[in-house]
Symmetry: C2
Subunit: 343 residues, 2 copies
Amino acid sequence: MYQVVKGDESEIATILDRLEKRPVFLFCVGNTLTAEVPGITVAGANPELIKYTPPADVELLYYGKCKVIPFPPATPDGKPTPALITYTALRLTKVPFFVVDSGLMDKPDVPVIEVHAVTGKNIAEEDAMSVENAKKAFEKAVELGKQVSRASDVVVVGESIPAGTTTAGAVLKALGLECKVSSSMPENPVDIKMKVIEKAVSRLSGDETPLEVVAKVGDPVILTVAGIACGSEKPVIFAGGTQMVAVANVAERLGSVEGLIATTKYVAEDENADLTQSPLPVIAVDPMLGKSSKAGLRAYAEGFVKEGVGAGAATLLAYMRGISPDEFLKEVERDYERIIESK
Amino acid sequence: MYQVVKGDESEIATILDRLEKRPVFLFCVGNTLTAEVPGITVAGANPELIKYTPPADVELLYYGKCKVIPFPPATPDGKPTPALITYTALRLTKVPFFVVDSGLMDKPDVPVIEVHAVTGKNIAEEDAMSVENAKKAFEKAVELGKQVSRASDVVVVGESIPAGTTTAGAVLKALGLECKVSSSMPENPVDIKMKVIEKAVSRLSGDETPLEVVAKVGDPVILTVAGIACGSEKPVIFAGGTQMVAVANVAERLGSVEGLIATTKYVAEDENADLTQSPLPVIAVDPMLGKSSKAGLRAYAEGFVKEGVGAGAATLLAYMRGISPDEFLKEVERDYERIIESK
């Protein structure tokens, strides 16, 4: 059902068993103006649309369609958002989920939990947010994590933030870890990202606390997810790739965290993604999109998009609830036809 | 543990058993400018402070102290907010709770779920909100109710909105029901309230849908709680007095609702509160405050404050979790000393 990338198999199995009980999914969605650096992200059909991707993603989860933009988020060449896969899994399993405003520029037309996170500034130019803002939002996220964990057996947290792999890379580098950055593109614009990361990290003195690191070179999604994880009284499944590696490192330094990272095998197989930098176990799930009859889904197996909006963990949830990989792929394709092809 | 005011005992017991499993509490807090009518409410130490009562109430639930104002909400003569009782129950039971912004004028410093509810206007002068606003917030509340119910066995919804008994009275009257209005004061300003209600209802044609009634003469808390109840896939405990009678009537007309109203015996014994207008079962819980050594708490048994912020249902929760009435009273008194007397 999944591959172990890192960690102890029985420890991992114990945490994942909780997906069969009462999981709650949270989606931390936000923006960083770092996404406005030309060429840094394809999480949007064109540069003007990029900022709408996070709210549109969560509208898709709620309604199977988007409202802030008239069609689902996609790359410029039409690869659809991974929210589609998560939508299918949540639709089939009816697992509860909530959206957390982690610094959105534009609000979605769904219920949203506010923790006073602010949109991240462009880390190439200036600090993402003030340390004071970061503290305020972090504390609120801790409270939220506590409450959500009391209503569940495991808290699964996914994300949507264009250019989030770049801010994650900067946080990893600032924490003294090796910094590789995955991407929604097979031709990963590593040079552009690395330049931004270098510029951001060069502003640091090296004496920053982990929270200050996030405030200066991170983004509000990393901040919020880390806060939720620190507040949770139950294990946390960090649902994502390299971004969650950064989050897990931050959370580990700010509190005591039990959990693991769950991502797709497309990230795990990406040579630009170094999941072993995670302080927590890591697993990879195969959504079998390489076998799809739909070119837009097969593209995931060819290195496009790869992960996001908790797609890997959502796929695992579906598998653990007794939906076979073949069945699940069929259901994803059905939603693809209804949501993407009919647009 | 409770008295049955209305309804079938075994049906009630079946719903309440769920409090022993996994309840989730929601607090729908908001404002109506109807509270600015002189003399209509004492939910605040003075008229300028009234609008801060709802955010301060939920800050008290989270932190055991307030932030938007430097001290806990109280009546002008110092009777403390019922949020104190709810705080004690949640502290002891560790049951998860969330705050829903149901039209707040001022935001609390806690995580808050937004459903796009707007502050209610003064119903003596104009419609509380546009029908379009009401529909938008109602739909979002329905979605929220669905998700929360999937994370719980029973959804308990409390409220805080100064002058809420007046808007509730107007909704009851507009729906063709008998309209009595309870109050936080033993000298209930019935004349002032009735004048406002008359003026509000006189604007109606009589052809309004239930949602239009709430938009025109109700408030955003009634709207939001009704939406949550309609979206819930589990039974709902409406945690309050006459306001919840109005909500239950609205919810019943807008959807199919299973549940009951749980309030304090202080409301049930109030001759100005007609709980039998509820379409759902009603129970009354005794927090034993008449036995308290603290004058501020004994006042509840003398007709002051009486209920609010889900205090009755929270007391029942504590009892059902094995805390005896005497123990619970002691814990409430301990919190009273720390939170109220030390201020």
